[in-house]
Every structure is written in structure tokens, then in C-alpha cells.
């Protein structure tokens, strides 16, 4: 039961390839068109990682400048969007590493509770899993999720955002963060458990 990663649509990949060829030939307007196609994703990643509009704007600039400067080296094995995504993730992580971050204790991560016999102590409030398919997301839920993501300890936030929101592979995240793949998986699992608890708590209060 493998989970599906998000895939760049074929049409977009095709459009990107054409623009990329022109950009690599020196067409700045083509590069700007590529930027316009991908800047929201890059900005979104940077904002989610740093939680700062100012940092996100700077990271977006640094990312596309890096991309421009290395255009000649980009051979197009990956999609252009995936490539700039990884550049952005690197820049965002470097920015976070330069901040003095108070490392929160792992024990502060909430997860499910179990009885002495290792049974679930509390049942999920409701089966809210179907909400994932609804067209419109409740504003209060959106805010609750944003807050819960902000509350995750830094190392867990990064892994969760890079894997579940940005769609990077475990190997890519391992390369970017310097953590082993098993460590990345362990953090992802614990982050998901904590966020699941937060969403469950939201629905139990409704």
C-alpha cells in the first residue's frame, strides 16, 4: 500500500522544458516565466520552514538566483520544479541553522496514549479522515493545523514539511538535513502522530 507522492503534471513539465531550453540559451524572459510558474511553491516552502515573510522572500530570491547561476549545469534529469524545490529546501535549512533555535525536548511531542496492555487508551474523536476529501477546508481547522505545525520541534517540523508537504524523498531529505534515512522516518512518524493528535483534539472540541 505505497503512498502516492505528488507528481508534476506532464503539461507543466513539457512547458518547463521548453522555457528551460530558451533560458539556458540566454533568454531572460523565459527564465522569468519559469520563475512565475514556480515562485509560489518556493515561497510557500520557505515560509512554512522559516515562519517569516521576510526570510521567505529572501530565500525565494536566493533560490532563483542560484538556479539562474547554475542553469548551464542543470541537465534536466529531474523536473525543473523539483530542482528549484531542493535548492529552496537547502537555503531554508541553512537559514534555520543560522538562527539560534532552542531545541525543544522530544518528550514534548504529543502522541497517542496506550493502556498497560498497549491498547489505544483513547479512541479517535470521530473518523475525520473523510474531511481530507472535502472541497473547502474549514478556516478554524486550517489555523489549528498551522499552529500545530508551528509547535513542532524544529527538526521534526523540517522533516514533516519536506516530506509530507513538499514531497521530497527520504533520500533527498537525508541528504539535505544530514540525518540518516531511518532517523528521518522516525521523526516523520512522530511528527505525523503529533499533528494527528492536534487535529483529533480540534474535532473533539467541536
Amino acid at each position: 500500500m505505497a503512498e502516492q507522492q505528488e507528481v508534476v503534471p506532464q503539461e507543466q513539465q513539457h512547458a518547463d522544458r521548453e522555457l528551460l531550453e530558451r533560458a539556458q540559451a540566454g533568454d531572460l524572459a523565459a527564465f522569468e516565466a519559469l520563475v512565475e510558474l514556480h515562485r509560489d511553491e518556493v515561497y510557500g516552502l520557505a515560509l512554512r520552514m522559516t515562519r517569516s515573510d521576510a526570510d521567505a522572500a529572501e530565500i525565494t530570491q536566493e533560490t532563483f538566483l542560484s538556479a539562474y547561476q547554475h542553469l548551464a549545469n542543470f541537465r534536466g534529469e529531474a523536473a525543473f520544479g523539483s530542482w528549484v524545490h531542493r535548492i529552496a529546501a537547502n537555503h531554508a535549512l541553512m537559514r534555520l541553522r543560522h538562527r539560534s533555535v532552542v531545541q525543544e525536548a522530544e518528550e514534548e511531542l504529543k502522541g497517542p496514549e496506550f493502556t498497560e496492555r498497549d491498547s489505544l487508551a483513547e479512541y479517535p474523536a470521530t473518523d475525520w479522515s473523510r474531511r481530507a476529501d472535502e472541497k473547502v477546508l474549514d478556516d478554524e481547522l486550517r489555523r489549528a493545523i498551522q499552529q500545530a505545525t508551528d509547535d513542532l520541534p524544529e527538526g521534526y517540523r523540517e522533516v514533516f514539511l519536506l516530506k509530507d508537504v513538499e514531497g521530497l524523498s527520504y533520500e533527498q531529505i537525508s541528504e539535505i538535513t544530514g540525518d540518516s534515512v531511518p532517523a528521518v522516518k522516525s521523526r516523520l512518524h512522530r511528527a505525523r502522530l503529533a499533528l494527528r493528535e492536534a487535529i483529533d483534539h480540534f474535532y473533539s472540541e467541536k
Binding site: 532563483f64 538566483l65 493545523i145 498551522q146
Partner: protein
């Protein structure tokens, strides 16, 4: 048969499709007998989907214009 705790610990591996067959079978046996764990699995699976939707962001227009100006300055040959 697995306990609820063991089952929860294995959810990521299960959903990633990286579980050996016999282990997956043990987990499925537990799920057949434990409706709360079935709900837990569903909500665990839905968590990243909901979070992705909640966290979508768009670059404000003013910042987008500043980005264009910045790149035109820096990339002009």
C-alpha cells in the same frame, strides 16, 4: 498478534509499502479485530493530506514584483 502500540509504531512502514508480507499480515489481523485502530490508521493517513491543504501559501503580489526586480538586476548580462 500485534498490540495497538506495535501497530501504531508500524504505520509509516505499512503505508510506505515497505513491510514484509508476514509482518503486513500480522498488522492486518490486528486491524480486523480492532476498529479503533482502523480509525486511527485512517486519520493517520489523512493527516498529511489535510496539512498540505492547510499550509498552502501564495507569494504576495508585492513580494513577487520585488523578486522580478531583484532577478532582473542580478541576472542581467
Amino acid at each position: 498478534m500485534f498490540t495497538c502500540k506495535e501497530s501504531v509504531d508500524l504505520l509509516l512502514k505499512f503505508l510506505d509499502g515497505e513491510m514484509p508480507e508476514d509482518e503486513a499480515r500480522h498488522l492486518e489481523e490486528h486491524l480486523e479485530a480492532c476498529p479503533p485502530c482502523v480509525d486511527f490508521l485512517r486519520t493517520y493517513r489523512a493527516t498529511p493530506i489535510l496539512c498540505r491543504r492547510a499550509l498552502q501559501a501564495q507569494m504576495p503580489q508585492e513580494l513577487a514584483e520585488r523578486l522580478t526586480q531583484f532577478l532582473r538586476q542580478k541576472c542581467h548580462k
